[in-house]
């Protein structure tokens, strides 16, 4: 690595250092409490997957380049210079971490591994060593925001094709639109994923609840966050913020996508609308009596996987359980409790990388499989696209014999006529 590249990468490192990051970089005492916390370490047993070990890959660079002692006496504190080898280590650490933050819950100092890995991810982008698929997906999202007029007609055609399926499940009044788009002064802007599965059940429930809603032109997922690029993350998020402001909605409801929800909820700043997950919105409809569910619809035992970005990192824990209480008498929660729930193993962009990461994802999530199997449930519900894909892959690989379902689609299937 030449000096110019090294300096550029260190500037990227520097750009990530704030008060919180400095605390994470300087605090670890190597107490070892995080050792068993990581699903990857727990499933695969390799030292490099211990949270504190991941931290050290970044921390040694910090000591070498940002601390006087490391500059003068690098051997002390194991300060380490930046090399091509370090880039490989950074990649290995960052892209084997799903950012689930389970280790953070165990750490007595609350050290945020995801934040430390965001330094690694940003440096990898600077070195053109990030997974190019994630950057490509982020750029595709940004392009749609920049050139909306070019894609509007295709989008509307795609949506029109879905409307008959929505009406089949829930009749609407004459003159109403099954999937409203671009409605100014709607109360709620629903930001879905591109697939029909993310739009149809949600539309059915919105219509059943008589919601004054409109569908976003943009998909919710933020690939900029997966690849750890703050600029792309903001550009992708800003498309939705601008649309919500233009339509003057009161609420932006994010579909079943963990990263999309966390980014919008925690990074969008103060806005003239509130941000909710679809799970919160649907729980609210039940609580307010706007929809009622048929408890006889699902007779098999149901368990629920809390998506890390929505539950542990987003605080939405009671709402899915409230929905499930109204949906079934056969709900069996996972052990341990939601705060300590095992990650599915698919976050941090790993699922989006598809077959490239499949072997690792299967090996690294064995503890998740054991956790689900212990419930003996036949239906495994969740509220995140990444989790759903990963859990479906695990179901096939480990022959778990469960039906993996989106919670929102179960709500749509169990709607009682009002």
């Amino acid at each position: 690595m030449d000096n110019k590249m090294r300096d550029e990468l260190l500037n990227l490192f520097r750009s990530k250092i704030n008060r919180a990051m400095r605390y994470y970089l300087e605090t670890c005492t190597r107490c070892g409490v995080c050792t068993e916390a990581c699903h990857v370490y727990n499933s695969m047993g390799q030292t490099k997957y211990i949270a504190a070990y991941r931290h050290e890959i970044v921390r040694r660079l910090y000591k070498k380049y940002f601390k006087a002692r490391g500059k003068i006496w690098p051997g002390f504190g194991e300060a380490k210079g930046l090399s091509d080898m370090t880039l490989e280590e950074l990649f290995d650490a960052a892209y084997s971490c799903t950012g689930c933050r389970r280790c953070m819950v165990f750490c007595p100092f609350g050290i945020d591994t995801q934040m430390l890995m965001s330094i690694a991810k940003l440096m990898l982008i600077g070195a053109n060593a990030e997974p190019e698929i994630l950057t490509m997906l982020a750029d595709t999202s940004i392009e749609k925001g920049k050139s909306l007029e070019l894609f509007k007609e295709s989008f509307l055609t795609g949506i029109k094709n879905l409307e008959s399926e929505v009406v089949e499940k829930w009749k609407i009044e004459a003159g109403e639109t099954a999937i409203p788009v671009d409605v100014e002064d709607a109360d709620l802007l629903y930001v879905a994923l591109a697939g029909a599965h993310s739009i149809i059940p949600a539309a059915v429930v919105f219509n059943a609840a008589r919601e004054k809603w409109t569908l976003s032109f943009f998909e919710a997922v933020n690939f900029g966050a997966f690849v750890g690029d703050p600029t792309r993350t903001k550009l992708i998020m800003d498309r939705i913020i601008a649309e919500a402001k233009r339509l003057k909605v009161k609420e932006v409801c994010i579909c079943e996508c963990g990263t999309a929800y966390r980014v919008m909820k925690q990074l969008s700043g103060k806005q003239p609308f509130k941000v909710s997950s679809i799970t919160e919105v649907q729980a609210g409809y039940i609580r307010e009596g706007r929809i009622k569910l048929d408890k006889t619809k699902f007779t098999d035992t149901i368990t629920y996987h809390d998506p890390c970005q929505i539950a542990r990192n987003g605080g939405v824990i009671d709402e899915p359980r409230y929905i499930l209480d109204n949906l079934t008498d056969n709900f069996r929660d996972l052990t341990p409790e939601p705060k300590y729930n095992w990650c599915c193993g698919g976050g941090g962009g790993l699922v989006a990388l598809g077959d490239e990461t499949l072997d690792f994802r299967m090996k690294s999530a064995r503890v998740k499989v054991d956790q689900v199997k212990a419930t003996e449930a036949k239906i495994l519900a969740t509220a995140c696209e990444n989790c759903h894909t990963q859990l479906s892959n695990l179901n096939d690989h480990y022959k778990m014999d469960v039906a993996v379902r989106f919670l929102s689609s179960m709500v749509a299937d169990a709607l009682l006529p009002q």
Partner: protein
Amino acid sequence: MSEDIKVDKVLDLKGLPCPMPVVKVSKGIKDVEVGQVIEAHSTDPGSLTDFPAWARTSGNEILKTEQDGEVIKFYIKRNA
């Protein structure tokens, strides 16, 4: 297959959820030479916007889009 376009490779992306169709097409296009054409079949409605946006950012060209029932067919020329 479109009669007026010579296709060099067909990609079956039916049943794949977003973002896998665009992921597979971005990889699949590298299997043909610059100037050659792939025909991609997707059932994901998001492809209708994802593919054109990807083509613009990657420098490739969508020659034609056809809807055949649930299947959307894209004819994409590798330019880059």
